[in-house]
Amino acid sequence: MKHTIMIRTMTIMKPADILKAMEVTEELAERMGFLPCDCLFLRLATEEACMNAYEYCQKVQKLPFRLFWKIDEGQLMIVVKQQGGCFSITNHDTVNTGPRGRGLQLIAHIVDDVYVKQEGNNVLFCMCKCKKK
């Protein structure tokens, strides 16, 4: 039986693109048969990952960045690819009463695996979510 991996990609240049990317994630997750609450949370993970990349890339004038969705059987992988060096994703799962710093905490709870890897001049922020059997 032929094994098919589906890949979709999008360039993010402005906030409206992030809103579109959130829709794409939700649509793909629904099509894969994720539960409605998982689809909503994957949309949230997409917004958080994209906003982090957008704010960084805008600050260092390295917009646009790219987003990839890879569907392999029951697994959805969302990858944010931006120019720049590797960064730490240590998740301090503590109480935060401040106005910022909850994006990664949310992502780490939503997806099954999250990691960062360097690829030449780019850094890849990868989020993996498996469908419950």
């Binding site: 959130m22 917004e47 906003m51 109480v95 935060n96 009463t97 106005p99 909850r102 949310l106």
Partner: protein
């Protein structure tokens, strides 16, 4: 939308909170904080989705209210919103209620 009931003022927010409207949400919270009332309720019964910027705006408003000897609580916390609040441990420093009535009862001491 804001309603006043004695010393209690309520902001009812009915939209999901994304990068599209988080600034309006932040401004609405600021307006609520500037009300004369000491007891503030944000009713989020119709909200299913909130991003980290929206969560930050709530946390910031709760802490600002406290610094001004006011108390801000959140009502209508259920479903996916409750799960998001649970992830960021909001219940450890914010009073959360499933309904607006429960929040109002809390303030009137019932």
């Amino acid at each position: 939308m804001e309603t006043k009931q004695g010393a209690i003022c309520t902001l009812t927010w009915t939209e999901d909170i994304t990068l599209n409207n988080v600034e309006s949400f932040r401004q609405a919270l600021e307006t609520l904080l500037n009300e004369q009332a000491d007891y503030l309720v944000v009713n989020m019964e119709k909200v299913n989705y909130i991003n980290s910027a929206g969560l930050g705006a709530i946390a910031d408003s709760v802490m600002t209210a406290r610094a001004c000897q006011k108390e801000l609580v959140i009502a209508g916390v259920k479903g996916s919103l409750a799960e998001i609040f649970h992830i960021v441990k909001f219940s450890s420093f914010i009073k959360l209620f499933a309904t607006e009535k429960e929040a109002l009862d809390y303030f009137v001491g019932e």
